[in-house]
Amino acid sequence: MYDIAIVGTGPAGISAAITAKIRNKSIILFGSRTLSDKMRKAHLIENYPGFYHVTGEQLADSLSRHLEQMGIEITEKRVGAVYTFDDRFSLSAGQDIIDAKTVIIAGGIVNGRPIKGEEEFLGRGVSYCATCDGFLYKGKKVAVVGASEDAPAEAEFLSEICSEVLYFPAGEKLPKEAANIKVIKEKPAEIKGSMKADTLITDSGEYKTDCIFVLRDAVSPGTLVPGIELDGPHIKVNLQMETNLPGLFACGDIAGTPYQYIKAAGQGNTAALSAVRYLGKKQ
């Protein structure tokens, strides 16, 4: 069991990891070795103290070095959900379950708006998780909106269970060819149904299905942490970065505006110190 699990490798998560490590806590940091696209893609950064006029690449590289120098490793896995229990948290990442006493959510914000009808029908013919709900559609026809890295693999998994998989790619990568996977290069526009969703409407067609799997890299905070209290699209926090779930903290873009590197890093530092204090009180 880790003292602190940190989800996200943008400035918020990295800053939290650095402070937690200095405080001698056992940590696990989930994210990507390239850290954060939002950082890498910035053209020029003028407002990060100590780094005047650097590119996003440069800032990201120096943060990478900082982690290396402190011996902080990045676990390259996506956390699918954080489950809250009385005495601990369990994070599911792929097939693994990792336990931690506290959690810091620093996953940034979700870009891209949901498909019309997606949220309304979530749990009623719309699913975010192929491995969770796939078996409910044994022998049935399903649609996959493939907007995540793993989507092609998940579509292949579904093709072993379902009679037919309609695959709507958002990226370049496609599932391996199979008799019952049909790739349709149209843009999903709306999900319709009555009691439950049964139709996916695209920019040029209409498809009847039993379930529509919408697979994205970034899940909304409410899906990532069941039971979390939100404030609009953000996780609701106080100045200590505490959320409604004791022992779980949030920082950076996911905790609200302004969206800025230094604000994310500052909140990451606060979240880590709050986690350390929480751990101290528990002992």
Partner: protein, 103 residues
Amino acid sequence: MVKVIRRNEFEDVKKAGVAVVDFSATWCNPCRMLAPVMEELSDEYAGAVEFYNCDVDENGDLASEYGITSIPAIIIFKEGKATAKTVGFQPKANMKSFIDANK
């Protein structure tokens, strides 16, 4: 204790004053996470609320009768009638408020 529904146990659900049925499956991660929460709640509500687990693979007929399209799905039955439903894992405190609000 959470009782497992195999076949006739659903008759008991219908007879119970208040019953909470957790529709789930062995292969579903959130279901596995929710199981210990329901187990603890069943002890806390012992004598007042009955708790059941219904495997949707083994009880496909019940799953379709109650419109289960995503799991875990938790349905509260009052005097045999389904009166409230919630979907997905929830921390114990939240599940407790859901039960208290609907029991």
